[in-house]
Symmetry: C2
Subunit: 408 residues, 2 copies
């Protein structure tokens, strides 16, 4: 498996585009606001969506659409979430119909997504006018994927785009994805918006299985602020154009596919955590020696979700007591007196807590380690052999600033 360019256009038969149709203010730094992803042939499709009780209209529509296990295109807008909005479902359906018409497909072939402010009417007229332009702009080149990745950004500062190439059954298979994250990131069986395409031949059932498996160790292991969005969506389209024997069981080919697919999901998830609103640090929490993966994950998510731990990392302060406190309120039972904690980064590693007690450590070295962009909180328990890695980011002035005045 090797990393390649191209994002969602890396796989054969996929095209993408991103345009400005007038939902964002013209002056937005990322001014594209309408993305389109299209496969030349029908695809096996699977999706996972927010568990929030309040679901955006496009999420409710997509859940219905994906019952068929098929789709062929994705239309997504940024700046408006079409959640709790007047005429929400009507406008989601109009968006699907307009995309279908622009692409010569049926509305039931279209996945629609929206992301942005909750509670305001979607400017569906701008989208209906924009979709034919977006269809005309479709491109199979990496620039097509770039434009789509740009068009789904809200407060994101970097595009999230990854692709890999691998061999399955003697055929070259590609998997590529784009995502947007930033704030309201605490995915629960989904994530903000993430789209993954592949030319691998795989049926809808196995595709869903792979998505659930990869999601559980990627998108479900990140948190920016503990706020689960109304619009979390992760959709994967597989068009089979790689020509490999269709994967329809958990065979060796599935294992190869799953490994690469999981890698893409982890890359997208990590990049979302690293670009969390206002983030200066990517925090990786590596929990080892847990009695189960579930326990390791619950404890890891409690640590990366702790406002106090996040603020300490922002201040490059090796305040490991907050890590212990966050482990302790996770709800999991464990022996605090057998916990070891270290901080690590490209600048080195420093042990700060052994057997639940503070160690004398080199504060200068700790500061240097925590000044790096990517820092690791390394936790070892003595409960068992299970491990989980979770990703988050620090809590900064900019997070507060961005979210103090988001609507206007």
């Amino acid at each position: 498996m090797k990393y390649i360019e191209g994002g969602v256009c890396a796989a054969a038969g996929f095209k993408a585009s991103g345009i400005f149709c007038g939902i964002k203010a013209n002056s937005s730094p990322n001014k594209f606001d309408l993305a389109l992803i299209y496969s030349e042939v029908p695809c096996a499709a699977a999706g996972i969506f927010t568990k929030n009780r309040v679901k955006a209209a496009p999420v409710l529509l997509d859940i219905e659409t994906l019952k068929s296990g098929k789709a062929q295109a994705i239309a997504a807008n940024s700046k408006n979430a079409n959640a709790c909005a007047p005429e929400g479902m009507e406008n989601a359906k109009r968006m699907a119909a307009a995309a279908a018409s622009a692409l010569g497909l049926k509305a039931s072939d279209i996945i629609v997504s929206s992301t942005g402010v909750i509670g305001q009417r979607l400017n569906i007229e701008a989208i209906e006018k924009g979709l034919p332009q977006a269809a005309a702009a479709l491109s199979a080149s990496p620039a097509g994927s770039d434009a789509a990745a740009n068009a789904i950004m809200t407060t994101d500062t970097v595009k999230k785009e990854f692709a890999v190439e691998l061999t399955i059954g003697g055929k070259t298979v590609h998997i590529g994805g784009i995502a947007k994250g930033s704030g309201m990131i605490h995915p629960n069986m989904g994530t903000m918006l993430s789209y993954i395409t592949t030319d691998c031949a795989i049926n809808a059932e196995m595709l869903k299985k792979a998505l659930l498996s990869a999601n559980s160790v990627s998108f479900n292991r990140i948190s920016v602020d503990g706020d689960t969005s109304t619009n979390d969506s992760c959709v994967v389209l597989a068009n089979g154009l790689a020509g490999n024997a269709e994967i329809s069981s958990e065979n060796a080919d599935y294992a190869l596919f799953l490994e690469a697919f999981t890698a893409i999901c982890k890359d997208l998830a990590r990049s979302m955590a690293a670009d969390g609103e206002g983030a200066k640090h990517l925090i990786t929490c590596d929990v080892k020696g847990a009695k189960s993966v579930e326990q390791a994950e619950i404890i890891g998510k409690s640590v990366i979700g702790s406002s106090l731990t996040k603020a300490a990392i922002f201040g490059c302060d090796a305040n490991w007591g907050r890590v212990l406190a966050a482990m302790g309120y996770s709800g999991e039972d464990f022996a605090p007196e057998k916990v070891n904690v270290a901080f690590a980064s490209a600048a080195g590693k420093v042990d700060v807590c052994k057997n639940g007690m503070g160690l004398d450590f080199d504060e200068e070295l700790a500061k240097k380690i925590l000044t790096e962009k990517e820092v690791i909180i390394d936790i070892t328990m003595a409960e068992g052999d299970a491990q989980a890695v979770c990703w988050g980011c620090d809590l900064t002035y900019d997070y507060v600033k961005i979210n103090g005045d988001y609507r206007t």
Copy 2:
């Protein structure tokens, strides 16, 4: 029932003091660091403590001590939490022994508390030297309670101190309390540090019952940052000197006591939320029309715990979509399409969401309402008749600043 001066010294037979013994740096703005609360006669006593799996040594010791249902004094230090600290239990016991010796009591009569940095060895020598001074400084005047309230502050900016007077069984009864809060505030059957004294005659069993009842609608309904501390403790001492017939069942006298006691707990809890680290606003979330009090509370706590909602209130931004989203990820089932939301304060009230959809509202008025120090998020559901009120605060630059460099 009327409010009076005096805090923990309002009740007959109680004295308190606060001194500087050398745990805090001399230059701290609140330089007292050792508090003592003492009753001239033995008391019925009850306490509730953090549910964090990682408990500070004094919490573990107090849980043992309170099994007798009796205590006579409380010694508490700030700046060091004595949690995950070398010789933690040994030092907690030394602290109890030193207080007992200074007061002519037994160690089993003493409740000890610590609050501050986790993981550092407690300077027990300073405390042992300080306790006789603190005992000598004990005073029954309001100044004694003030000094004790001062001595338990860490990043608190205001003292939390309340007292009431009421008549039970023809006798004048007093209930008074002090507390400290600020950060790591997300109490789970306890709160940071809160001490309440009363001269009411009430047995230990009924006192515990009253404490659990009042706690469930006060301390357990606030959150500053979702971080449950290792040291949360709320202890109440009742010395019976008011001379009323001892309360030993849920009779009319108990109802009177409970009402006043609950009021004090709510006052202390609200003041903790209002003085959350860096807070500019006290946020009251009033959830009505829930199917149960539990549901209303879970939804209310989800809203006041939402970083995005908190940041919006900091920005005086009427971003009610974040309120809906936080309700939705609370885990509770409800009909989003029947939810109404309004923002209110001393400056007025504005309806922003009706039946789950955004209303056109006066943005100028909304801004004006949200600029007030105390703002109310008023939520009405259509699930039933239950209600709960929760309190939190906004998320500000100062929260990040305070916690980016807390240890040093």
